[in-house]
Symmetry: D2
Subunit: 348 residues, 4 copies
């Protein structure tokens, strides 16, 4: 390697999340992709021949000719970003951690493990300390939340901190890319809505409780906000839109809420992490906003756009939140976790 | 006219709701379209030359050559179905009523008038009596609810009757045809969601209270269920999908709810009205149902499809309801009102 | 069986073409579905449990409970309609023919076999005689053309007969349903065009030559019109749109062409076959027509809609043709073949 | 103005092409937007309040607060880029030229004027000389071709130069954004194709003849290649896809054609113009490419992607070409013209 960058490997490199990792890391100032690994079917091929590239950016030149390796824990890198399918991710990620690799995973398998941080750098950077309780010799596993969780918890964080939250109700309209590739059949999405995404509602009702939890010596005390989620698939390429209702411990004014969102700045901004959005949250005044096609790419697709805050007859307030599900909600969010780990000395 | 059918006129005949009236009435056993009326721009032309037909059925042969008239109250018919734009509907419909026409309107203008029934034949057929309090010499105005209201109130009716309702929360994903033609720009809907429909949430929060109201001598006592609504436009041609949460007065079992839906049968079925769906409500067992493209046309697009009933952490239950917004939610619903009026002797 | 109808079986009954067969045959006056057969994965289950029904009509009640059988040639019926995937259709269809079944297939496998009719009842009903040359004891195989071929050849037939054709150039914009289910990934079709459909252009350049061929005692002399085809997949549910250019042997006037289309009537109309469209071809005057969503369902989805006839600087004329790919272009076309076989005495 | 950049005004600044001009010029090294002008309805307002911004990038900060002016020829700038609607563009552009402004227009009004260059910097940079024959005191008008023309002529240029062209046949599948905003109704494009775009085919058949023409002292001798065009609107946001067939004067091999495309480099690359694509043409090997969603953004949306070159039974070859209709085909192409004018000394 010709640089001082940290060598990284991508697990599940040919999948849709894997491609996003490659796109976002292609010009990264701290990381350099040295290894791409995928299933047996791809291994041994050049990356450009193994992948069915579905992004609208071109495959980075330096990745095209890399040989795809097996997902065996003998890759030439310090850190691996995992976009593996959850059907195989669990044991592979563990094997890597045991061999001393820092594993940052976008898969669900280890998210709820007691000693694995479910990390959102703007929300719970202190949870990183949990890795010290992991029994891997030098390696570790850190996870990124589900793509529908991330927009919600970021939108809620300043509200939780400033006013306290009792109840959260959320109905999602989620993008097709959230299901990977080939994912959802076009016959199911043209002129249609699918009001069901397997196991998604459960994730959205439980992951925030861990993310908002308090680190108490070596374990997380779950937060106790009550959440109800309903998840729908709509005909959108990227960007999950969420209709959110909240009941506060101390009901603030509309103005106070907007102020809390607009002034929300956290660890990634302070540490000047590369993938950190300039503003983690944008509050948009126009009644018809946010919209996925218009706002999903704000700040490299890492910002959460919020709009339509208004009083609610059943809860206190309702609003609409939007975030990019494969940038903020998957690869971009995981890279931000990796950057935090460097910045905090967990990766050298 | 060569038949014993009741002659009807269509106001706003070239618009999208007007076209739906024409499609649904083309083979109707009780009604025969004798007049089509529209704005000045169209009047004097043959219908086929005035209309930009957007339905996938062909224009009925006998309508093609009809001359489009002005919306003046001198049409050769007893009853008019109005699909007029709300910017003009109010005074025109009144003018017709004053001249003795029975006006069945799909426009919002008179819906909340104190002496105008907001009629859903399965729910409040008794509200028809309100027309007796109208000051029109022989004429009257009857209205049909908003296209997003109808699926909701039908789904709720058996629950209200059997178990009592305290709170209702609804988030809609509404079809493009609900905005008429040209309506929503394609640049706004491709790869997008619009989380805002002007004044729609207000209708959805207030119309049900009148529909579920009690007729008390000559006025309606509003129902007191509390409703919160959030409305979104998605890329679907026809069919509004609604995520609904309910809190009951007396919480039933899941089984009892499904039983109430499946056994719901009402006035239109008893009276054997032509447009009445065989089953007003279908409860679908498959977790991924209902879907607009698959289920919107059930029973001539007049049935409401419901699925995914499950317990809710904040309310008692949540479920998904779907109904065809231009059939059940507009022209078809209005025709059913007309049929009820015949059956009850309000039209002869 | 409670009727005098001819018992039929559906091969590949759970697939997308199989479902269309079931939908179109559910009220058929001559045929009654007695058997549904599919792959091992489905066999033994009730149809409603085996199928992932994707049509907007409901599953016919009497089919729901049928047990799905293996595709073994021991079904209780006289005729089988095959919607089998081409990866398996060849030998299965042969096995059925050998056991005496009349096989009407929508699969490509036997289409170009020398003694198998590639049948379009409006065009080459005499080709049915080819089955007499087949070596099956009582059974036979008859095929239906590819879904993009059928609209083209029907549009060309009156031109060929009246004016002679030298060259045909066609560019298609084909519907998603043409690829079956799950078929095309939604990530490939949202906000996109795929300018390639494997082996489709070859079918479109060769099948018409056989269909337009002359039956010469026991074989088909291929027609010699020169055809060039380019095939694209667009985001449309049903209905293939084709931009066609033609060079004639004797160049007619625009008026003569339209007259030839509008007066085209053939065997299925004369024999009054059930699935026969009232008009096989509709010529539409409006410049913006035909459009798939508006015109694909004309005459039960069995008619071909044509519009925009105009002079061409390179060929003689150009025009746009549209036909429903799963009705006319698959199951409906195959059923029409079956009806012709009954009418001509090939099935009793 | 705080820079040495050339001050430019945008005519039609609130429209869809105007927005694209603003997006692409926001960081331009040579130009700085000092004026935004639009119709009376907008003038006097701040840009951010006048515009219905439809792009997925944010409105540039420095433009938001600019006051929208009338389209009167008294703007504070040297050059105006016009994205005016063709219903008003003609006389306004002339008025600006007469007052000494350099007008670079994307509107069709003056494209075919004898002394107005129809400019594609890669193809006919010498046509710029035509402005010397214009009777404007210091001002001039230069035009950019239609958005469907540009991809075609760029793809053809290396073929014309190397092998000579006799006939060109093209069928387009054009993006929604080509019709501006609100443009095409969503009800017309969901699950649909519109096989007609008013006056588009005529532009595509005539503009290339002028672009490929020879400048002969003070006028253009039209090229004599014969072109036939068929134009369709499909459900794609950006990017026109074109199926092209060509007949050569001297038929080359497939290899020679691909070589000609890949080695095509022209004036903008030599002059190192800012908006010049790195490669004007990309030839893609994968059979399923080019696709609008994947390739339209190559090289800032200024490159033309070509694929699927194959022999044709009627012409010599066929292939698929794709270009971004609002970048390369509108604002981006016009800016490139402006850059060429600077580089050649026409603007100082």
């Amino acid at each position: 390697m010709s640089s001082n960058k940290i060598p990284v490997g991508i697990l599940g490199a040919t999948g849709s999340v894997g491609q996003k990792f490659i796109e976002l890391l292609s010009d990264h100032p701290w990381f350099e992709i040295t290894e791409v690994a995928a299933s047996e079917r791809s291994s041994g091929k050049k990356y450009k021949d193994a992948v069915n590239w579905i992004l609208s950016s071109a495959i980075p030149e330096k990745i095209k000719e890399l040989e795809v390796k097996d997902c065996e824990a003998n890759l030439n890198c310090n850190i691996v970003f995992s976009g593996l399918d959850s059907s195989v991710a669990g044991p592979i990620e563990e094997a890597f951690a045991k061999k001393g690799y820092k594993v940052v995973s976008n898969s669900k398998n280890h998210r709820m493990d007691q000693n694995v941080p479910l990390l959102v750098p703007e929300i719970n950077p202190d949870h990183l300390e949990l890795v010290k309780t992991q029994n891997f010799s030098g390696g570790c596993i850190v996870t990124n939340p589900n793509c529908s969780t991330i927009g919600l918890v970021i939108g809620l964080k300043p509200l939780l901190d400033n006013f306290g939250l009792e109840e959260v109700n959320v109905v999602t309209m989620q993008a097709l890319s959230g299901a990977g590739y080939p994912g959802v059949a076009s016959l199911d999405t043209i002129d249609n809505v699918i009001p069901y995404i397997p196991s998604e509602e459960d994730k959205l009702e439980t992951e925030p409780l861990k993310i908002f939890g308090k680190l108490d010596s070596d374990k997380i005390q779950s937060n106790e906000v009550k959440i109800s989620a309903q998840c729908n698939r709509v005909s959108v390429l990227n960007g999950h839109t969420e209709c959110v209702q909240v009941k506060f411990k101390n009901k603030p004014s509309k103005k106070e809420i907007i102020h809390a969102w607009r002034n929300f700045s956290a660890e990634p901004q302070k540490l000047n992490l590369h993938m950190a959005p300039m503003n983690t949250i944008y509050y948009l005044e126009e009644e018809k906003y946010p919209q996925p096609r218009i706002h999903r790419n704000l700040d490299k697709g890492m910002a959460v756009s919020i709009g339509r805050l208004r009083e609610d007859p059943l809860f206190d307030y309702k609003f609409v939140a939007l975030s990019h599900n494969t940038n903020r909600g998957a690869a971009g969010g995981a890279i931000l976790c990796g950057e935090l780990m460097i910045s905090k000395g967990y990766i050298k």
